[in-house]
Structures are given as structure tokens and as C-alpha cells.
Amino acid sequence: MMRTEVLVIGAGPAGIAAATAAAANGREVILLDDNPAPGGQIWRESIAHANGVGMKQRALDLLRRSGAQILPGHSVFAADASGTVQTLQETSIATRVDEFRFEKLILATGARERFLPFPGWTLPGVLGAGGLQALVRSGYSIVGKRVIVAGTGPLLLAVAAHLAEDGAVVAGVLEQAPLGQMLPFAMSLLSDPAKLMQGAGYRRKLWKTPYRTGSWIVEAIAGNDGRSLAAVRITDGARTWSEPCDLLACGYHLIPNTQIAELLGCQLRGSFVEVDASQRTSLENVFCAGEPTGIAGLEAALVQGEIAGLACAGRPTAALRQRGAAARAFGVRMEKAFALRKELRSLPRADTIVCRCEDVAFGDLQHRTGWTDAKLQTRCGMGPCQGRVCGPAVEHLLGWRPVSVRQPLSPVPLEALCLQGETADIGHND
């Protein structure tokens, strides 16, 4: 068991900023992260080429100098507000459960992609947009592969530009939002030259690639083997056509990771964790920063993380609050720009899988009364991902709000749980 004054969960930009601010102001800090290295999704390391761009490198340097202890590869599966968190470490040869005790907790758990079911979306070759990018960064070569990028949100253009840089033939970028819905957001970028230049830069890298707004994927089609992707069907509402491709990278913007906050009993506002101006949640000793408090991107994460870290260290945060509010407003404009169109609700057929863990089809869910009924009758949302994928999909398709969150938040091998604090050899665990 390890004790610390401040425990930070999540080493993306928000968690890094929070841990740095708290540690640099004299607090003892442990920073936990599920991934093999700090940086989160946006600053994920690439094995092929250094992508330690200025901002990331500066943030990591400051973090290392702050004295915070960084523990990657620790996946939080249990937490309670009285001050304990349990983590699981999994390597290729062993698993291990550890317990941490904290005085103050900062949740910087980030966001995940929203996936919406359509016929064929379970075929190998169909990935998330951020998902494909993460796999490319971890060594999947896509040189010469024909890729379609689809879904919604500002991530699509960024992913498409990066995939093109890595050698893919990006055959098209399909944004479901109609142009008119995106215009106010696009116009607001005029007052933010950095973001505008970033967008223009992505577009320049994709000058040969068609970018279609108001268009979406209706079906992914398997090749002759029936086991991998060969083409997609695309519609703009009026016309539907096919496009051959090797890979489809499809994600519908982001969903906040609020499981730990919910487990602790933090108050939510809509889908997000409610925080005050110092990022404090409804619980006195629990703070939250970044995407779980509202999807607003990198800048918001950095400033909110810093505010949370300073607040935990008892330092004033007033000077940062205006920047925090501006970043949040950007997030609200973005949410409106990329609101999901209703046609996406009618994509699944009766036999389209919705819950990928338990292979529950849309037809098995349509006539259920809600989550409890669906779980009891079909096991929807009860597999290893614990509804992280099908939960947001079902909410969009059927309007069911998620029910309770329970620990363990993800599967934990029994022998690791029994040997808490010791390393369990997993060579003989069947």
C-alpha cells in the first residue's frame, strides 16, 4: 500500500498539468496512468518517428522536474472517497494489484471515442478514428492502404492528416454534421489563430482528399472471404454510393470517462462531472480536470489541470480562471457544431451487433424497457468493457441513460486480487 498527499488519475495533458502544479508547490504527488507511457491519447508516443512536439516535451520536462512520481501501466478498477484507489498492472508475464491511499484526488481520466453501430461495423478493418491513429503510432504500418475517415468532430481532420503523413491513401473524410451546423464553430476559430492555422495545416496535407460534410457511413461491406472489410456504403441523405477501402476509421466525437467519478459519488451535470471554479467536484477532497468536465480539448485540459493542482496545493487559482472559462466556451460551441443527426439512429438492422462483448443484436434490445431489463435478458453491457462501447451507442439509439457504475471497473484476475501487493505469476492461471 502506498500513501500520498495528492493522487492524480490519468497522465494526459490535464493530469500532467495537475501533477506538475501540485508537486511544484510542495505536495507529494503520485500520477497513475493506464497506458504504457504518459501523454494520454493526444500526446501518445509514436514508435516510428519522434512526435515529441514542443508543447508535449515542455509539459513532460516540467512534470519530471516537479518531483511527482509517475506510475504508467496502472489501471484503476476500484476507488472510494474515504481515500483509497486500487489498480491493476498487467505485463506479458504477470499481473499485480496495488492499493493507494490519498488525501486529495484529482480525476483526469480523459475521454474515449463514441462508436455508433451500423451494419458491418464489427468487421476487422473497421476501427475508431483515434483508434486507428493509436495503432499506427504503436507500429501498425498503413503505407499504401486505402483509408476512409468518417464520423464526426474535429478529430477526423487531424487523424486523416496524420494517416496521410504515415503513407495511407486517404480516399475521403466524411463528416456527418451539415456545413450550416458547423459554421458558427468554424467562424469562432477566426478569433483563435493557433487553432485556425492547425486546421488549415491539416487541410493542406489533404489537398487531394475530398472532405464531405453532411455525409456518413451506412454500411461496411466484407470482401469475398466474409471476414474483412472491402468497401463502405456512404450517403449524403439524398444519394448513396459505394467506395472501396482497406480500412475504415470511424468515430463519433468523444465521450467523457466518468466511471471513477461516478463510483466515488461525484455529482454529474448531464454527462459531465460537475466542478466549481477551482475544479472541485461535489466531494470535498476530489477534483476533476479536462474532458470529464466537458469535452473542450487540449487547452482546456492544461488550464483546468493546473487549476486543480494549484487548488490541491492550497495556492490561488483566480489568475487562471478566465482562461478556463474561455476554454470551456470553446467546448460548448464544438458540442453544438458536431451534434449527431437523427438518421444515425436508424442505421442498425435487427441483426446488427450493438454490444460487441456479448454479441447482442439491435433486434434483441429494441423492445426492452431500459438498461436493467436489457442486462437481465440479454447481457448487453455486461462484458469486459462494461458498457464503455455500447453504453453511449444505446443512449443515442434508444435514449437509455446508463444506470449504476460498480467496481471492479474492468476485469481483474482473481489471483492478482488475492495476492494484493505481490506480483502474481500468470503462467498457470486457467
Binding site: 493506464d34 497506458n35 504504457p36 491519447q41 514508435i47 516510428a48 501501466g73 489501471s75 498487467e90 505485463t91 506479458s92 508475464i93 474515449r112 471515442e113 462508436f115 464489427t122 476487422p124 478493418g125 473497421v126 476501427l127 475508431g128 483515434g130 483508434g131 486507428l132 491513429q133 493509436a134 495503432l135 499506427v136 504503436s138 507500429g139 501498425y140 504500418s141 471476414r227 474483412s228 451487433i353 460487441r356 462483448c357 456479448e358 454479441d359 462484458g383 469486459p384 468493457c385 464503455r388 462501447v389 476485469p411 500468470i426 503462467g427 492461471n429 486457467d430
Partner: protein, 81 residues
Amino acid sequence: MPDFISVTINGTPNRVARGTSIAAAMLLAAQPNRISITGQPRSALCGMGICFECSAVVNGTPHRRTCQIQCEPDMTVETDR
């Protein structure tokens, strides 16, 4: 330049750059990570350890999230059935 290591995927040796995740290696080898409960082949979806679609058998242990584990020399990986 990255150096290369060998991992065995469903019985066939594959050369991958050091640092490659197992999920990426399985995509390169065009092998599904797992077979779903109704028999469908599945591969990585989220790439960030959340969806469990990339679960595979690593050195004999089933249900490992292969997007979160890097390949190591002489590792054996199999489709989770």
C-alpha cells in the same frame, strides 16, 4: 532506426519493430485478435485499452488487452477463441 524482434502469431513467426504493440502486430499479420461468442472474427477497435476487442492469448494467458502490451522477443500470441 528501430531494431526488429520476432513474435509468433498463430504459429507463424513475424518480424516487427521493437516497441510495436501486440495489437498492431496482429493487424500486420492479418490475424483476428479474438473470435466472438457467436463466432465472428474481431480486431482492435479503440486502440486505447477500453473496448477489449483486441483481447488475445499472450504467452498462454487468455484475455490480454493487446493494444496495451508491447511485443517482446520470442513471444507467442494466439487468437482468443
